[in-house]
Symmetry: C2
Subunit: 586 residues, 2 copies
């Protein structure tokens, strides 16, 4: 097992191998991928498809002197194995050592910590510019997938390097004919044309942008890849090396269903079945069902996603069923949001769905294209919780601070299944506000809820009490319930429990009334404190005698943490909060 791979401690060891050994190494890498991914899951298809290309990259170039930049990192696992990090794949005890993303803290062969798409050309061009300023001679190589090419940052960079960078720069376009879901957009169709003509098509977008271009059909053939990379090594100008690869290569199920195997949970290799099960009902499944019903009954309704249909549970068959009421913009968040603004302006009912971390790409579009114009776009975000995705590049904890301070945007934080669905429907039907909805990150809970949210920024008192008022926002509502119960049990009085519902503004009238028989307001929010909900409350009471304690996360890039430990670290377990109440400055 791992006969060749076990002796690879750096790229130098790759260069010593002959072609037969390199091909065994490819098999070893796939075996190692299976070992890790069957047990802890991760990005499957992109890594299985890029094995030969990355072996060839390390064979031909001299990393870290020559610099590789990987887009979104989903295809960086073979590179990691070849740069001293094979144990993260072949030794189960070492799995946690490997972040699943390129990471300069792990290795000098990684230049950036990357988890969002479409960044590699831009980042790498900066490395090339600094090289030129300093008179260096190394190669700089950006690897990017066909799906990632549709992102604005990649397109801006492609436009830039073709005409502005006059020195060595190699862009490897890894064309596996797939984003996460199927590809969308003109570039992807154009790549079909380039492949069909073996790269000879007169019309060539890369050449149009001023880039040199070369095509390699056999991207999964190490010998062919070595040859093409040797031909561009030390080139004195920017060039695109367009390679054709098979996503998921080496696992029949993944080759046949590229979308399902882009990413995987732990699975059984023989059957492909996941070895852990997901709850039948989740906020994702509720969203999926809502979308399907709504689309049937309302022809003005359209769901838009920047390449993240599964975040709303929209499998290929359901997308087909939605027809023209479903739009995948490709990885193009900015366009998705502005496009939705146009739809809303002309009387359509657009719902934009993606993960909260990716909507960060659209701060300006949400502000300018949507909110200044007041167009009723609904933006629904998944993975908004601190215990959703815990990789530093995918945290949902910045969403409230980033977006709730944009004027005109109503940010809704539902606390139960009923409230979630009512908010979603209210938002899509109303015509006055841009709305962002934070899909709860916890298990589905049930509780009766209002149907109408026209009275913006009206909080809801769920349990009336005295002395302490708990404002428990969104999916931290259940923590608020627990805290209220404990306060009553331990401190001997019944506090007030409030469901703010709106994360983007204050119910000033209610807050004013709380002064009558409360001395302390506690805020709980599933996000960073700075710029968040609690600080608005603290400022509201700043010049009064009301005390305010805000609970949430620190302004930090947490990475791969244990969520329960993190809560303790920031002092927001129920026990810690009760201690704080006891110790309050009088």
């Amino acid at each position: 097992m791992y006969d060749i791979l076990k002796n690879i401690n750096s790229p130098k060891d790759v260069k010593k191998l002959d072609m037969a050994q390199l091909n065994i190494l490819a098999q070893d890498i796939r075996d190692a991928l299976f070992n890790r991914l069957t047990k802890i899951g991760g990005h499957f298809g992109p890594n299985f498809g890029i094995v030969e290309a990355e072996i060839a990259m390390h064979y031909v170039f001299d990393s870290p002197k020559d610099k590789f930049v990987f887009d979104v990192s989903h295809q960086s696992y073979p590179h990691k194995m070849l740069t001293g990090r094979k144990n993260g794949y072949i030794d189960d005890a070492c799995f946690p050592e490997d972040s699943g993303y390129t990471n300069p803290e792990e290795s000098e062969h990684d230049w950036f910590n990357v988890g969002h798409t479409s960044t590699s050309i831009s980042l790498a061009s900066g490395l090339a510019k600094a090289r030129d300023l300093k008179g260096g001679t190394e190669n700089v190589i950006a690897l990017i997938g066909d799906g990632s090419l549709t992102g604005g940052e990649a397109l801006e960079a492609l436009d830039f390097v073709g005409s502005e960078l006059k020195s060595n720069f190699i862009i490897i376009v890894n064309d596996n004919q797939q984003a996460i879901a199927e590809c969308h957009g003109g570039i992807c169709e154009h790549l079909n044309e380039l492949r069909a003509t073996n790269g000879k098509s007169e019309n060539n977008i890369f050449k149009a942008l001023g880039l040199d271009y070369i095509y390699e059909e056999n991207g999964n053939n190490i010998e062919a890849m070595i040859k093409v990379l040797q031909s561009v090594k030390d080139i004195d100008h920017p060039i695109v090396v367009h390679i054709n690869t098979q996503k998921g290569k080496g696992y029949k199920l993944a080759e046949e269903n590229r979308e399902a195997w882009h990413w995987c949970l732990p699975f059984d290799k023989a059957t492909g079945k996941y070895t852990i099960s997901l709850p039948a009902e989740s906020y994702t499944s509720l969203t999926r069902d809502y979308i399907l019903n709504k689309a049937k009954s309302d022809k003005d309704f359209v769901v838009i996603t920047p390449a993240m249909p599964m975040t709303a549970g929209l499998t290929p068959d359901l997308r087909e069923q939605l027809g023209s009421q479903y739009v995948d913009t490709g990885i193009a968040e900015e366009h998705a949001v502005a496009f939705a603004s146009g739809i809303a302006k002309a009387g359509g009912k657009p719902l934009v769905v993606t993960n909260s971390t990716f909507i960060q790409r659209t701060y300006d579009q949400v502000s300018q294209d949507v909110c200044i114009n007041g167009n009723p776009v609904t933006i629904l975000l998944n993975f908004t919780s601190f215990d959703g995705l815990t990789d530093v590049t995918h945290l949902g904890i910045f969403t409230i601070a980033a977006f709730a301070n944009i004027p005109n945007l109503i940010m809704l934080a539902p606390t139960s299944k009923e409230e979630y669905l009512n908010m979603l429907d209210w938002s899509i039907e109303q015509k006055d506000h841009p709305v962002m909805i934070l899909m709860p990150g916890n298990a589905v809970t049930s509780r009766s809820a209002d149907k109408n949210f026209d009275a913006i920024n009206t909080f809801k008192i769920e349990k009336s009490g005295e002395k302490v008022a708990i404002l428990a926002l969104g999916d931290f509502y259940q923590r608020g319930e627990e805290l209220a119960t404990q306060i009553e049990a331990e401190l001997g009085f019944k506090p007030t429990l409030i469901n703010p519902r709106f994360a983007s503004g204050l119910d000033k009238k209610m807050l004013e009334e709380l002064k009558k028989n409360h001395q302390l307001v506690i805020t709980l929010e599933d996000g960073i404190l700075e710029g968040g909900f609690g600080q608005k409350v603290a400022a509201f009471y700043g010049a009064t005698n009301m005390k305010v304690k805000t609970y949430g996360l620190q302004k930090e890039f947490y990475d791969r943490y244990n969520p329960q430990e993190l809560l303790r670290e920031v002092g927001m377990t129920t026990k810690q909060i009760i201690e704080d109440i006891k110790n309050l400055e009088s």
Copy 2:
């Protein structure tokens, strides 16, 4: 004067004119542009160049049934004159009625309030999608300049419509061979090729993206423009109409110096000289001089701007002088920031310069590409103040709330010339932090300042006092000085005056010490309160007996306001603050 224009009250009136009259109308429009722009300034070159095309657009299409979307609005003035808003140009008393940007509140012929570039294709494609859902038959037309085509949002949209929109959609690419400064990027060079071949080049980026394409060389000829637009009216698929126009056409000075005449202050038509004068020393001139000196002495230093060189006073001759140490990325903010991260990673010293409103495009790049990676990029922002640009699309008041809550980012708010230059130099030289610097919006003031800011989040006590502590951030420091003086005069005690210097964090030790002999902390900031600096201070003291009053602007899209009136409206004149102190809850 205005013989034809004075009778144009809607596009219907345009359709009645014969060719001779249409040509007189073009001259009338230019006269009207001169009338407004010589007196109050505005966007010059783009409007002078598009006169004939917009007459033809209104002649051929039927607005508002057919829908025009203008990119960035810099070329929308002729359209405004043809849609009932000529008085904003020919009648001096009516100038304020016209916003200078497309604005649905002004007219049913405007679909969006737009002031950022690269949005028209995306917004318009949404209008087209809603039309298709509703079974409409109108034409949807997006107008975009060659300079704006390099923005990620435009590129994403171009990629999308070519393959995903299967219905009527007309993109007019107004190619005047100029952004604000000269164009940069592969697309602009490609447009040269398309013009040189009269649109016949085999290689055609628009066709590569799946779009139909037609070229019109005579974009300033009404008859030619009518003909080409008639040929595409009611087309059943997306098409690019690439037109060649002369920026600044009709004013020799503007034709000869397209950059200087992109935008103008009030000027004398005969000489082209501005009729109002600007101060010799400004934070912009200080920035320019710093950049020129730094570049000479340090070959690792490179200044990068997304098409906004003049925001740092970098005229064409100075850019030439900077050589490879100056990079204009074109209108490509996302790339500019990620590119800078790459440069910093490889040991360069990048300074990104633009206006604060445009950096909003880069929230995700600042967070992911720069801050997660901790790369020492310096981002210098102009027009960060509430009294800089007052158009709703160009407000600087959101910058602190938008960016100061991103982990690892140090936001510096200098209060004098010396502090500004010291911060700039410290930031460029240090290697540990991404830094954003808010260029002060007020007149240049002089005061001694520290040179080293390694001790992050250390505030500076400028005047020690008692009872009230004033935290006066950045260019509101002078307001703090005035307030301190007035408090002493009116209330009979000397307050403490603090220059926080860091907008992105708190000096907790100092704030703790203030408790000893202060009962009230006042924060003053040049930005919205929500998500801003003062709310962090309020939350810090939330559970203590210290009172906090935060002063700043409301979370609102203010538009074309009087800055002094706005200060009064939000209750932050010195007089109002002193009243607040007197009325404080005891």
